[in-house]
Amino acid sequence: MPWDEGLVNSLVYDAPSPTEGRVLAYPKAINEALDLALGRDARVFVLGQGVDDPSAMFGTSRGLKEKYGGDRVFDTPVAEESMMGVSAGAAMNGMRPVFMHNRPDFILLAFNQLVNHAAKYHYMDNGRSIVPMVVWAAIGRGWGSGPQHSQSIQGLLLGVPGLKIVMPSTPHDAKGLLLSSIADNNPVLVFEHRWLMKKDGIVPEGYYTVALGKGIYRRRGADLTIVGASHAIELAQQAANKVAAERIDCEVIDLRTVKPLDHGIIQESLEKTGRLLVVDTSWMMGGVCAEIGCLAAERWIHLLKGPVRRIGLPDVPSPAGFALEQFYYPNVDRISGVIREMFR
């Protein structure tokens, strides 16, 4: 889709300097994580619709079947619910599946096995079994695929005890968080973002992990705390750079995982700035924006100098059309506009 490629390619990412380390493309970082996990642990296997096809999940699974064989890296029937349950059952019996989806929308077919089963077994059998599985999917935007092919569903899953939700924003984190997720003994959802696939970054060689449940400061500042994850952080950083020229000094916190949520880092920042803006790739209602907004009202109201603001998606399905999408999704201008309003 040329218009889509055009949009993605028009993104301005800060080019990493090779003097700081090895520069790697985002999908390659994920590919490296999968390769390392398969190589070091015979319990790991990778499955998903088209996981071994020529497009190889944005390139993330390229070459893995050739290297590890079709028993450990395999295409599946178009049967989302059963494959989610098969992954859970295999995980409960000593394996570590990585179940990949091109689009999160297809995970909705598997909510029964994900929410009613995978998330529950450890609790339901009093801690006896563990369900170490990873469910991976890439959020879409700008590809004209509309309401059933572009959704960002982390908010729907945020309230499900037993699940973890990872949302990386850099190639470094995509690799390290995925390796952490595979090593974790719980069902972990990893939501990547299609637009980040074009981002290069410094990625260390070999095995390393990035801890789940710990946020990181992407930018230090004194006036405003911006909190989010995934592609929303990329937009927030660019907006922060923009308003810096207007002497608004933003702190940007990349949560890295939205469940578990790093409360500590948000509080620490708010104690300094007293202003909170939450950004997310998904709907504002009932999701990451809503939860953090609620925490602010409940725990940190005494720290706040003004109302909490949130920037996510309106309470509207993801539209297909190019023009409608421009109104729908947050962009750098909209975020910087809201930041300015917060200081008016």
Binding site: F45, D71, R72, T76, P77, A79, E81, S82, M83, M84, G85, V86, S87, A88, G89, A90, A91, M92, N93, G94, M95, P97, N112, Q113, N116, H117, Y121, H122, Y123, M124, D125, N126, G127, R128, S129, I130, V131, P132, P161, G162, K164, N185, N186
Partner: protein, 309 residues
């Protein structure tokens, strides 16, 4: 079978006392399926159940005291009071998982069979479900996948002709349920689920085939539950099924049928049965006393095991 029957009858007898604050789904009348199949399995083989767990749990060798503690919501229940009667598990004997969602266990069991294969073991998995599970699409998905990968699994369909109070005829067109298996290029057999020896023979063959890598089998066992879908007693008088229908099935009681058979073969007599029964009743009484004197879980227990370390 006699032990399962007596345990469930005692549960039923005491249920009105309201000390077992858990829904119950009695398997009275359906004992032969679990017993026949588990007799063909090893402890290391895995069994997965639906919501009607009591019979399978006991047939697989699950601990009675832990079961009754679970049913009394006690801390030392087999699931620490997080599961209740629909989630009886005992990993030490391969009672590996259950689901309160009709076909819910089936994918998980299929995944267990995939793991057994990938790990190079000769472990076999049996998953039990009611005939209504064939109406949930995920069962077909699993049959397809298990046949595709030739997994070591037995899809054990207990056809008792009712889903809660809805008869099979209002839910499915008239057809042999074994065709669900056949449609997925899978060996499918039908057995008399009230006859434990028939079930055993079918299960023995299915287990052997699974173990030697010859792939999955779909088994339809026709049975009848003598009690309501849930709770104590029969509910036929509400009108969804004929009392006469139940009475005619009661003539095919798995326990009495097998007893007549072994009695005719002089393998047992009245006095031996009576002695067995007394031993079982003592065990049951002891297990109830154990459960009733066991501690309740604490508030701290509520928060345990949401996540694994």
């Amino acid at each position: 079978m006699l032990r399962i029957r007596l345990i469930e009858e005692e549960i039923e007898r005491r249920y009105h006392q309201d000390r077992m604050k858990t829904p119950i789904h009695l398997a009275i009348g359906q004992e032969a399926t679990a017993v026949g199949c588990c007799a063909a399995m090893r402890d290391t083989d895995l069994a997965y159940a639906s919501h009607r767990t009591h019979g399978l749990y006991l047939a697989k060798g699950g601990d009675l005291k832990a079961m009754l503690s679970e049913m009394h919501c006690r801390a030392n229940g087999c699931a620490g009071s997080r599961g209740g009667s629909m989630h009886l598990i005992d990993f030490s004997v391969g009672m590996a998982g259950t689901s309160a969602i009709v076909a819910g266990s089936v994918p998980c069991a299929t995944g267990a069979a995939l793991a057994a294969r990938m790990q190079g073991t000769d472990r076999v998995v049996a998953v039990f479900f009611g005939e209504a599970a064939t109406e949930e699409g995920v069962l077909s998905e699993c049959l397809n996948f298990a046949a595709l990968k030739q997994l070591p699994i037995i899809f054990f369909c207990e056809n008792n002709f009712y889903s809660v109070q809805s008869p099979l005829a209002v839910r499915q067109p008239s057809r042999e349920l074994t065709r669900w298996g056949e449609a997925h290029a899978m060996r499918a057999v039908r057995v008399d689920g009230t006859n434990v020896l028939d079930v055993y023979e079918a299960a023995k063959e299915a287990v052997a085939r699974a173990r030697e890598g010859a792939g999955p089998t779909f088994v339809e066992a026709r049975v009848y539950r003598f009690r309501a879908h849930g709770g104590a007693g029969d509910d036929s008088k509400t009108g969804y099924r004929d009392i006469a229908e139940r009475e005619s099935w009661e003539k095919h009681c798995p326990v009495e049928g097998f007893y007549s058979l072994i009695k005719a073969a002089s393998l047992i007599d009245e006095s031996r049965r009576e002695a067995m029964q007394q031993t079982i009743l003592r065990e049951i009484l002891e297990a109830f006393e154990h459960a009733l004197s066991s501690p309740d879980p604490t508030e701290e227990d509520l928060y345990r095991h949401v996540y694994a370390d």
